[in-house]
């Protein structure tokens, strides 16, 4: 009698790393760093119609110390930049960053004395979501890309953002 027959499908075998990744992936705690228009679309993403909780990421935290996914939604300007950096530093490892929308990713169409041309000047970014503002589906897609990345990292693969 083989092991497989003995437990008759009641037991799954895997590696610890992958179990942890599975858990992480399905219980992301996002912190929305919402400064502008994209924040309103994030409200749409968490509300009943699009319902981010289908992806296990509905537990929105406003304290960086309790979150593992930073979603930057909106324009970051020079006055804001040091604060964003400090908030990122306050998050515990492991942590991921989504840069949602044109402004956060590249400054958008605000090329001026006040706006940072992309938050990657300040902090590392895992996923860039295009759009001005990105639709809720696009934000959800960004969350799914993070989930893929978590699994891939556990399997030892390097994934490009």
């Amino acid at each position: 009698m083989s092991m497989k027959d003995l437990f008759a499908g009641a037991v799954i075998t895997t590696r610890v790393k992958e179990v942890v990744a599975w858990g992480r992936k399905n219980s992301l705690w996002p912190m929305p760093y919402a400064t502008a228009c994209c924040g309103i679309e994030f409200m749409g993403t968490v509300s009943s119609y699009f319902d981010i909780s289908r992806f296990g990421a509905e537990l929105v935290r406003f304290s960086p110390r309790q979150a593992d996914l930073l979603i930057v939604l909106g324009t970051i300007n020079y006055k804001q930049a040091p604060i964003l950096k400090r908030i990122y530093e306050q998050m515990c490892e492991p942590k991921w960053v989504i840069s949602a929308g044109a402004c956060a990713s590249s400054g958008g169409f605000y090329d001026n004395y006040s706006v940072i041309q992309g938050i990657d000047e300040l902090i590392p970014v895992d996923v860039y979501v295009p759009g001005c503002p990105p639709r809720p589906e696009a934000i959800l897609n960004g969350v799914m890309k993070i989930q893929e990345k978590i699994v891939a990292e556990a399997r030892g693969k390097v994934v490009a953002a």
């Binding site: 406003f62 804001q80 001026n112």
Partner: protein, 387 residues
């Protein structure tokens, strides 16, 4: 007792964006407060000086991003005044309809978020469902949910979709039941009343001196509304009421918004009945893009198209101030043209800016927990506040 200083923001769930305030506390009472803004300064006014007249419209979307169509209308109306252009009758009614829809959308967010700050999350879901339903129609209208860029100088971008009127009527019905649900949850709710009544009171005189306009001014009992005082786009022919408050506290400010949504729904209903058929853009090759068949088939159309896109609209030299009643109050655009293809100076008068400047005065002497309620009732939209 020793005084304590507390910092709230700029990244805090109750600041509705990026806003920071410090308070000096004596126990739980606020002794002194100081607001700091500028965390979303995106240089709108500087950008307008280097964009063509048409290119400014998308920037106006991002001023008050909860009701972007109103900003589009406000800006285009100012430029049209300078150009001396009368927009077609149908376009006027379309603008009224989209403006009132935007007002509803804005108030939905404001009331939903204010209730969340006070601990009532379910109201937000009720309201957001209606908002999603309106989004479906704005999306059909112009392709975007939030940043619409719908109006053009000289009219609107395209006509209403055939199913628009019926669809919106249905949405308005849903809105009615959502308002009913939420006002049942809030209006006579003891906890809600305790948290909002006699909180953050501002008197009539103070409100005027601080430059309050819109729902926050009306909550103090001043029935001032630009739709009545300086009617534009046939607002004088619509039958609607201007709700006013009596005390000028948080409760009044929120209740005024509830009633305004009902009135906006009435205006939309009337506009649907009165709207005539016809063009939605002026027929002026110096302002409106020619139809695509002409661009592809004859040289004149092609040239007009090219000139408009490369040089932009030429607006005669002059200065104008034009104000419309936006969701938060008087939204004014002051424009200087030097006769070229780009504005010389665009100044926007954001209603939020003056509301927020009075925030410190309104919370001083109150409890720290009230500060959040006051902030929610002012409906601060940071895009408009910092520009």
């Amino acid at each position: 007792m020793k005084e304590m200083a507390l910092n709230i923001g700029p990244s805090h769930p109750a600041t509705h964006g990026a806003l920071r305030f410090f308070v000096e506390l004596d126990g739980e009472t606020i002794k002194k407060s100081n607001v700091e803004i500028g965390y979303l300064h995106r240089a709108f006014e500087k950008h307008s000086e280097v964009s063509t007249w048409t290119q400014v419209i998308p920037y106006t979307d991002r001023l008050n991003y909860c009701s972007s169509m109103m900003n589009n209308v406000g800006y285009c109306r100012a430029v049209e005044t300078l150009l001396g252009v009368e927009i077609p009758e149908r376009a006027r009614f379309i603008r009224v309809i989209v403006c009132e829809l935007s007002r509803i959308m804005d108030h939905l967010i404001c009331l939903g978020a204010a209730a969340v700050d006070l601990g009532g999350l379910s109201n937000f879901w009720y309201f957001f469902n209606v908002r999603e339903a309106i989004y479906d129609f704005t999306e059909k209208l112009c392709g975007a949910r939030l940043t619409t860029n719908y109006t053009r100088i000289g009219g609107v971008m395209r006509d209403l979709t055939p199913d628009f009127a019926d669809g919106i009527r249905k949405v308005l019905k849903d809105l009615g039941s959502a308002i009913r649900d939420v006002s049942r949850l809030l209006e006579r709710n003891k906890i809600f009343m305790d948290r909002t009544q006699k909180v953050g009171i501002i008197s009539k005189e103070d409100a005027i001196s601080w430059g309050f306009t819109g729902p926050c001014l009306r909550a103090t009992g001043v029935p001032h509304d630009l739709r009545r005082a300086e009617p534009y786009y046939h607002y004088d022919t619509f039958d609607f009421e201007i709700p006013v408050g009596t005390v000028g506290d948080v409760y009044d400010r929120l209740m005024v918004r509830f009633e305004e949504m009902r009135q906006s729904a009435r205006i939309i209903e009337q506009a649907f009945r009165m709207i005539p058929e016809g063009p939605v853009m002026v027929k002026d090759p110096r302002i409106a893009l020619p139809p695509k068949q002409e661009v592809y088939r004859n040289i004149e159309g092609l040239m007009n198209h090219f000139m408009l896109l490369m040089d932009g609209i030429k607006v005669p030299a002059g200065e104008v101030y034009s104000a419309t009643e936006a969701a938060n109050g008087e939204l004014g655009f002051y424009i200087i043209s030097d006769g070229g293809g780009r504005p010389y100076r665009v100044r926007v008068r954001p209603p939020c800016f003056l509301l927020t400047s009075a925030f410190s005065k309104m919370v001083e002497g109150g409890m720290i927990a009230d500060a959040v309620a006051v902030l929610g009732s002012l409906n601060i939209i940071v895009g408009e506040l910092d520009r």
